[in-house]
Every structure is written in C-alpha cells, then in structure tokens.
C-alpha cells in the first residue's frame, strides 16, 4: 500500500495492460493522480531567458534588465509553472521539511537536465543555518542519479532573514551570497555548465551564482529550476 506523499490518499499502483505492454520502465507513483493534475508543466513558447510561460518566444522585460545589468543572459529552463500547487509543494518540501518529497519530481528534473547535455552540474547551496535547521539542501535532494559538484559555497554573512521572507525589491538588492570552491576555474573553464535551483523567482540568486561561474569562462552557462 502506497500513500500519496501530498494528500495521504492510497494510491492504486496496479499496472494497466497498456503499461505492461509498453515496455517502458515502470515508474512508481509517489503522488496520486488528483494531486499530479494540479501541477502545470511548462511548454513553449516561453521567455528565451528565464523560461517563464509567455505568448510569444521573446525576452521578457525582467530578462532584458538582467542582460543589460550583467552583460550576459542566463538561459533558464524550468519544469513547472509556479502555481498554487507548486507553492504548496515547496511549502511542504522545503519549509515543513518533508524530505520524502524530493522523489516527486526527481525523475522529470533529471530528464530536463540530461536533455541539455552539460559537462558539469552545479547546485545552488544552502547556508549553514539551513543545514542546522532543515538538515538538507532541497536542490541536491532532487538530484537523483545525477553527477554534480558543489563548486558554489554559501558565504556566512549572517543573513538571518531567509530569502523567501524578503520582499521583491529586498531580494533584488541582496549582496553576493556565494563564493567559488577550490579548483573552480580549472573545472569550469571551456565547459558547458548548468546551475540548478528550486525556484526561479526574481533571478537574483541565480544571477549571483552565474556571475561567479561566468568569471571562470565557461563555454556555455544555463540554469534549470523546478519551478518558474
């Protein structure tokens, strides 16, 4: 008997004939169909920069701002739209700390990352306070069967206020929270790099991380997040 990780109803995991005959690998469900239906998968057209859903495939105003400010454009791709279900999911996974939820989207996230054929995957780190209280990095938690390197390190600048508790303008003006780990230059130079984060909100966090990676001259730099 398996219970839905989100709503606790019992999942009927009996295989249909179609599934058996399809010869596809059988995926064990972690959430029920009703819960799964609440999530919105992002499909093109989306913003060429941040990957958010748009009517036409062009750069959104935020991304134009980032390009002008940073001198480069970070191409981000996300699995889900940040709707109510995603918000609830992040609430339960990240803030309530239900680490079991790391499994819910890990397969789909892996496919999204693998399709981009990167040389190196770098997750966004969490700070020491989060490690002490939450006890896990929600990004790394979702990276199942993926090789990654923790080349970004959280600087301990006593930022007691969590990023998610900040207002939008406050987030946009946060100082660089990361530094690069040992041998970053050697590992990043001339490689295709993918940064991974949980949610792309303003882009501030990812652009901080990207600034550091850019300084090591990668051949290409992209990012992937669970939600946008």
């Amino acid at each position: 008997m398996i219970q839905c990780l989100l709503c606790n109803t019992i999942i009927d995991n009996q295989l249909s004939l179609v599934q058996i005959l399809s010869f596809k690998p059988i995926v064990e469900k972690t959430i029920c169909d009703d819960c799964a239906d609440q999530f919105e998968y992002l499909k093109p057209p989306f913003c060429d920069g941040c990957g958010k859903k748009q009517i036409v495939e062009e750069l959104c105003s935020d991304c134009q701002m980032w390009r002008d400010k940073s001198g480069y454009l970070l191409h981000n791709r996300s699995l889900l739209a940040y709707n109510e279900a995603t918000k609830q999911f992040m609430q339960q996974y990240k803030f309530a700390g239900d680490f079991r939820l790391r499994q819910v989207f890990s397969d789909e996230l892996r496919h999204l990352i693998n399709d981009l054929h990167a040389d190196l995957i770098i997750p966004i780190p969490v700070n020491e306070y989060t490690w002490k209280t939450r006890g896990f990095n929600q990004v790394v938690g979702m990276l199942n069967n993926i090789n990654y390197e923790n080349l970004l390190i959280s600087k301990n600048n006593n930022q007691h206020k969590l990023q998610s508790h900040k207002k939008r303008y406050e987030r946009l003006f946060t100082k660089q929270p990361f530094k690069l780990g040992d041998q970053s230059l050697k590992k990043i130079k001339d490689k295709k790099i993918i940064l991974v984060d949980d949610v792309y909100t303003t882009g501030r966090t990812l652009y901080h991380a990207a600034d550091l990676v850019q300084s090591c001259q990668p051949s290409e730099l992209m990012s992937v997040t669970l939600a946008r």
């Binding site: 309530a96 700390g97 680490f99 079991r100 209280t133 006890g135 790394v140």
Partner: protein, 440 residues
C-alpha cells in the same frame, strides 16, 4: 523571563520565542529515539524505518506529525512541569440554566469522575445536551485549582464550544487552540483545543475531556490517542464523550480499563428514533435509468402532501444529480435542492431549509454540527454503501426528532442489502433505547 509557555508542554527549539534563553529548570530531551533500524518520534510515538525518513548526515525526521512543525534529530524538546499556577476562584460557574432530573443525575456522575480522576466514557445520545452536564464538574475542578482541557477532533466543535464555555465561565480566561488560527498560545487554567494540539502538551492536565471521540480523524489515529495519554498528568483523569462509541472504546470498557455511564435519552426525555429498513436491491441500476424505488417514491409523496420536512441522504456526490433527475420524473413540478460538503452555496442552501423555504434537502454527508433542523424525518437511499460508517449512520438517524414539539420523527433506510454497518447502527440505537426505556 516568564517561561509559562513551557508549563506542561514540550516545545521544539524552533517553537521557542526568539532570543529565549532557558533557565536551569527547563528540561531538555531528545525529540527522537533511535532503535537499530527504526526511529521513534517522542511527540506522536510513530515509529518509522530509518531508510524512509533519513536526512543527509545521519539525521532523521518524523513524517507523521510534520504538520505541527517537524520533529527531527536536529532539534530537541524543551519542557517545564505543570505548576498549576492559577488564582483560585471559589465558584467560577456563571451559567444560570437548569438541568432536567436526568441530566442532573448525569452531571453528578461526571463531577464524581473528574473529582476522582477516573478514565471514563460518557455515552450520551445525540441531542442529550451533554455540554451543560459538564459545567458543574468543570466548575468544581477549576476551584480545586486543576488545569483542564476540552479537546475534540473537529475544529467546528471547538469553535462551537468556546463561546458557550466562555459564557458559562465568564470570569475564567480560556485558551482556544486549533490549526486554523494565528492567535498566540497563552497559559490558562482552561484550554479548548483540537486533539492535534494535544501533541504539544506533556503531563499538563489534571482532567482532560475529549468530545466526539469517534469523529474523524481521532478514532483511527494512533498518534492522537497517544497524544491524549501524554497530555494528561500521570495522576490525571480523562472523560471521553460520544454518541457513537466505536469498537476500540467499547473494548476498553469491557476490559474495565475505563468506566462507562449512559445518557440514553434526549434532553426532552424521548428515545432515539429507531431505524426502519426498506430493501431495494436494484436501486443503483434504477437510479441510472432515472427511476426510484417504489417505496421511496411513496415515502416522498406522503411527506410532500403532508408538508413534513425531511433530509434525504445519498452515498456519493455523483448520486445527487442522478437522484434529482429521477425525482423529476415522478414529481415534475417539485423543486429539489441538493447540497454536499464542498458545495460553495452550502450555507445558503442550509439556510433555505432552516427558514422552511424548502421542504427537503438532498445531501451526501451529515451537514456540520450545529446544523440541526427541529422537525424533520430522515431518509437514506443506499445506507449500505461503504461511505456510511455505523457511527455516521447513528449520527444521521440522530438528526430526526430533535424538537420537543415533535420528538419522534421517522428514520427510513433504503438498502441494496444489509451491511455490517447498517446492522451495527440498528443494534446500537436499540441498545441505548433499551437503557432509555428503563429511565422513562
């Protein structure tokens, strides 16, 4: 610093006030206990296999009670023993009402239970007026300086109890706790809370009253049961209230682990209406063909002609529209209002029934507590469906005959066939009525 928020409670580090430095008296204990491949949560007693609940770096968490703030090996419990620091009030009861002789007798029994810190079950039929019967016992316990709580699995019960108790004990400050509120906790002699909130208490109460013990989710929830035990002082008492005791409680009664007393008559002194059963083996296929069992059509017709209001229950939300269509074949001009728990117009529709603007309401669930219509009959189509537990069926039957002017009311069940739950409900009502007859 005032540390009364820890009296009789166990709080996690993350639940403590910011910049709080515990005094030397504060007990600090591990939040989880590791036993080989299993790990036990000391708040809810749930034991998980470590592989399912592992965090990185050999840490673990409890998924079971996570909604109340996560228990994990990264945190600890802070606790202070309950000191009963309350001002003494000689006679805190400000309620002026009177009890019927039967209620009076029951009230005395409750007083006795709380005084002796008994573990006791009070089986009072729906509509017996049980809240008023608690007042004297609560009053005495408060003047003894005891800390008390009234807990219920259902938020709506707590919300209904709070103003009634605040009126009855006008000079006592009551703390109300449930998951849907923002008001901070306060240390009070009397607490009204959901059974979930009991998880935060530890050896706090000299007496704990649990109302509607057989309501979801308490009845089947081991964690809440554990929380109840843990919230009571080792020397404390516990009074369970219910109209429909489940097998678990009755087993405890049988083993003499808890005492029992009955209030088998309603406040107006009458018995519960007994269930009359009509067999309709093909009602499911009939309703799909827009037909209804003949006996049901007759029963509806009589009530329409005689203007006798009724509630009609069907098992599933999908059955509501099927029923409505079927009914229109027999009574084309008859208005038919249907309502279910998630219906956005639920309150308006219930009000229509209350104001007697409509004669009947077709519904799937027991409308929430407090939603009682004085003079109604109750009809259930498909009472043998699995969605109706025996407790639910007794509650549904208890909707009928709640007024003094018409204390009897009919309860009619249409079944495909007899189910265990239907038999149990019939048996339970017969049983309490037998007890009731002796008192009449």
């Amino acid at each position: 610093m005032n540390e009364d928020f820890l009296y009789g409670r166990r709080l996690l580090i993350q639940e403590l006030p910011l910049n709080y430095k515990p005094s030397d008296q504060v007990g600090i204990s591990p939040a989880m206990e590791l036993k080989k491949t299993m790990i036990r949560c000391t708040r809810c007693n749930y034991t998980s296999s470590i592989s399912e609940v592992a965090l990185p770096q050999n840490q673990y968490f409890c998924p079971k009670c996570i909604a109340l703030g996560r228990v994990s090996t990264l945190t600890k419990f802070y606790h202070l023993p309950e000191p009963n620091q309350f001002p003494t009030v000689a006679d805190p009861l400000t309620w002026q009402g009177t009890l019927s002789p039967l209620q009076q007798q029951c009230s005395l029994e409750v007083c006795h239970c709380l005084q002796r810190h008994f573990k006791h079950l009070l089986w009072a039929v729906t509509g017996a007026g049980k809240t008023e019967m608690l007042f004297a016992a609560i009053s005495q316990a408060l003047s003894r300086g005891e800390r008390l709580a009234i807990a219920s699995p259902r938020v709506d019960v707590c919300l209904e109890l709070y103003p009634r108790l605040q009126l009855a004990f006008a000079n006592i400050e009551i703390c109300l706790l449930h998951g849907r509120q923002d008001e901070p906790y306060s240390y009070r002699q009397l607490t009204i809370c959901t059974t979930h909130q009991l998880l935060r208490f530890y050896h706090a109460f000299d007496n704990l009253i649990v109302d509607e013990v057989d309501a979801f989710p308490y009845a089947e929830n081991q964690q809440l049961y554990f929380a109840t035990q843990q919230a009571i002082k080792p020397s404390g008492g516990c009074l369970f209230l219910t109209a429909t005791p489940g097998p678990k409680l009755l087993r405890q009664v049988k083993r003499k682990e808890i005492g029992i007393s009955y209030l088998p008559l309603r406040y107006h002194g009458h018995l519960l209406p007994e269930i009359k059963v009509k067999l309709a083996p093909t009602w499911r296929s009939q309703i799909k063909q827009k037909k209804l069992p003949r006996t049901l059509v007759q029963a509806i017709k009589i009530r329409l002609v005689q203007h006798r209001p009724f509630l009609l229950f069907v098992p599933h939300v999908a059955d509501l529209s099927l029923f409505k269509i079927s009914l229109s074949k027999y009574f084309p001009k008859q208005e038919c209002v249907t309502v279910h728990a998630a219906d956005k117009k639920r309150l308006e529709k219930v009000q229509l029934m209350r104001d007697q603007k409509i004669l009947f309401l077709v519904t799937t669930s027991i409308l929430e507590r407090g939603v009682t219509f004085p003079d109604i009959d109750v009809l259930v189509l498909g009472a043998d469906d699995n969605v109706f537990s025996s407790a639910a069926l007794v509650q549904i039957a208890g909707r009928a005959g709640r007024s003094l002017s018409r204390p009897t009311g009919d309860v009619l069940f249409w079944l495909g066939s007899y189910s265990v739950n239907v038999r149990a409900a019939i048996k339970q009502i017969k049983f309490v009525n037998q007890k009731g007859r002796k008192l009449q």
